[in-house]
Amino acid sequence: MLKFTQEHEWVRVEGDVATVGITQHAQEQLGDLVFVELPDAGKPFEKGAPAAVVESVKAASDVYAPISGQVIEANQAIVADPTLVNSDPLGAGWFFKLKMANPSEVDELMDEAAYKEFIG
C-alpha cells in the first residue's frame, strides 16, 4: 500500500513497518541531489517532525516523518550516492523505515490518485 503526504513524501506500509521516501515530483522540483542526511536507527519521531535533510546545489530541504514511529533502518546507499534519489525515488532511493507507533495515522494520508490530483 503506497500513500503520500502533502509534503511530497511517500510511505509504503508492510505489517507495522513503513518505508519512507520522497516522490518523483519532489525529486524533479529539487533537481540533482548532492547531499542527504538521514536519522540514526532507534530515533523516534512524531508525525510531521523533520527527520532527514536533502540538499541540491541551490538549497537544503527537510524531509518530514509522515507518521509517528521509531527508525529501524536508514538507507546508507543514498548517503553514499544521493543521485539514487533522483534516478529511482520510489525504489533504490528510499530514505528510512519506521516501526509505526500508531498505524491508524496511515489512513490520514493520500492515496496515489489523490496525490496526483494534489500536485496537479
Binding site: 522540483q29 533537481g31 548532492v34 547531499f35 540538499e55 541540491s56 546545489v57 538549497a59 530541504s61
Partner: protein
C-alpha cells in the same frame, strides 16, 4: 519535504528581453532583484554548472544595469576624473577599449555597489548590479551631473557566454572577438547587429559579455544556442560558478557595511589612489579604507572548505572551537561546488583567524562542522590574459 515556489502575491516582476525565450526553453523562473529570471533550465543546476566549465554556458544578465556616462565637455578625461570621486580605482589611467572592476564606496568605506567600468572612446559604460541600479543612478546623478550625462541603457540587453568553448563559438560568428584579451572590449557586428563585446564574466572561466540592443537579443541568443557547445545556464549555476571562482555577490558577501579591505578586494585599488599615489584618496570613506590598507582590517573575507560533505550555506555561524558559546563570524555565501565536488563557502572572520589552514567550526543544523580557512578561488581562474 517542502519545495520552494515564489510567493503568489509577489509584486509584478520586470522581464528581460529574453523572457519569452526562457519560457520557450522550459526554464524554471524565479524572482531576482525585481526581475522574473531563469533559475535553471531542464538540464538542471548541476549539469549547467559542469557544462559551463567543460564547454560554454549562455547567461541572460540583462537585469544588470548598463549606464553610459557621456562628458558634457566632450572630453572623456573629465568624466574619468569625476568618477574617481566615487570609486577608489584608477579610472583616468584606463586605456580606451579596456575595462576595470571597481566599487562605489560610502563615507564609512563600505560598498554601495560593485561594478565594471568600460572605456568606449568618447564615453564610459558601467555595468552595475540589478538590485542597486536605482541607488547607483541617483548616486551618479547627484555626484556627476555637472560633468556628464548619466543614462541607464534600458534599451540594451546583456548576455554572457562563458567557458572554454566561448572563444571558438563566438569567433565563428564574430571573428574579431577572438583577439580580445581579458578585460578588453570592442564594438563588433554579430549577425548584422551592433554589439559591444567585452572579454569578461563572473564564472572564473574565459568568456565574453555581449551588450546587444534589446530588440535583437533573442536573435543573438538563438544564434549562439544553435552551437552544440552552448547551453542556456540559469542563475542557480551562475551562483555556484561564481562561488567556486571566489567572486563576491553584492548583498551577500559585500554591502554598505563591508569595506574593500575587509572583503579582501584591495587588489582592485591601484597604487595611484593609495597613500603616496598621484591621486591618492578623494573618494568616500578614503580615510577608513586607506588606513585599513596599511594597518589591516579587524575582519577579513576568507574561503572556507569542509572535509565533510554537508554544504555550509549563507548565514551559518562560525566558531573558534566546538564548544564556544559566542560566534566569531558568519558564512556569507556557501553551497555545493559541482566542479570541486564538495562544499564551498566564504565568510567573514576576525583577522587573527584569517590565515589559510586555520581551523574553525560552522554550525549547521545544530552541529559544529570543522571548516578550514583556504585561499580563494576554489577553482583556478582561466581568464585569457596573454
Amino acid at each position: 519535504m517542502v519545495t520552494t515556489s515564489p510567493a503568489p502575491t509577489a509584486p509584478a516582476l520586470k522581464r528581460t528581453p529574453l523572457h519569452a525565450l526562457h519560457l520557450e526553453m522550459d526554464a524554471r523562473m524565479g524572482p531576482f532583484a525585481g526581475y522574473d529570471m531563469p533559475i535553471q533550465y531542464p538540464l538542471g543546476v548541476l549539469k549547467e554548472h559542469l557544462h559551463t566549465r567543460a564547454a560554454a554556458g549562455l547567461f541572460d544578465v540583462s537585469h544588470m544595469g548598463q549606464v553610459a556616462l557621456r562628458p558634457r565637455s566632450g572630453e572623456i578625461a573629465n568624466v574619468a576624473r569625476a568618477l574617481e570621486r566615487l570609486v577608489p580605482v584608477d579610472v583616468l589611467g584606463l586605456a580606451p577599449a579596456r575595462q576595470r572592476y571597481a566599487f562605489f564606496t560610502n563615507v564609512d568605506g563600505g560598498m554601495i555597489d560593485d561594478l565594471m567600468i568600460g572605456h568606449c572612446g568618447d564615453h564610459l559604460v558601467l555595468v552595475v548590479n540589478a538590485s542597486r541600479k536605482d541607488v547607483d543612478e541617483r548616486h551618479l546623478s547627484d555626484a556627476l551631473s555637472d560633468v556628464c550625462t548619466v543614462d541607464v541603457l534600458d534599451e540594451r540587453a546583456l548576455v554572457a557566454l562563458q567557458g572554454p568553448a566561448a572563444e571558438s563559438v563566438l569567433a565563428r560568428i564574430a571573428p574579431a572577438t577572438a583577439s580580445l584579451r581579458f578585460m578588453e572590449m570592442r564594438s563588433v557586428p554579430i549577425a548584422s547587429v551592433k554589439c559591444l563585446v567585452s572579454r569578461s564574466g563572473y564564472t572564473g572561466e574565459d568568456g565574453f559579455e555581449i551588450s546587444v540592443p534589446a530588440r535583437d537579443a533573442e536573435k543573438l541568443a538563438r544564434i549562439l544556442l544553435e552551437d552544440k557547445a552552448v547551453a542556456f545556464v540559469g542563475l542557480g549555476a551562475r551562483d555556484s560558478l561564481r562561488m567556486e571562482a571566489g567572486l563576491c555577490l553584492y548583498g551577500s558577501d559585500i554591502d554598505e557595511s563591508t569595506t574593500p579591505v575587509e572583503a579582501a578586494l584591495e587588489w582592485v585599488m591601484q597604487t595611484v589612489r593609495r597613500r603616496g599615489g598621484a591621486r591618492a584618496g578623494n573618494f568616500p570613506g578614503a580615510d577608513v579604507v586607506l588606513q585599513q590598507l596599511e594597518r589591516g582590517a579587524r575582519r577579513r573575507r576568507v574561503g572556507l572548505k569542509s572535509r565533510q560533505r554537508a554544504p555550509v550555506r549563507a548565514g551559518a555561524l562560525l566558531y573558534a572551537d566546538r564548544s564556544a558559546t559566542e560566534s566569531i563570524g558568519n558564512v556569507t555565501s556557501g553551497g555545493f561546488g559541482p566542479s570541486v565536488a564538495g562544499p564551498v563557502a566564504m565568510g567573514y572572520v576576525p583577522s587573527a583567524f584569517s590565515a589559510p589552514n586555520s581551523l574553525l567550526f560552522a554550525e549547521v543544523r545544530g552541529n559544529r562542522l570543522p571548516v578550514e580557512v583556504t585561499t580563494l578561488p576554489f577553482v583556478p581562474h582561466r581568464y585569457k590574459r596573454a
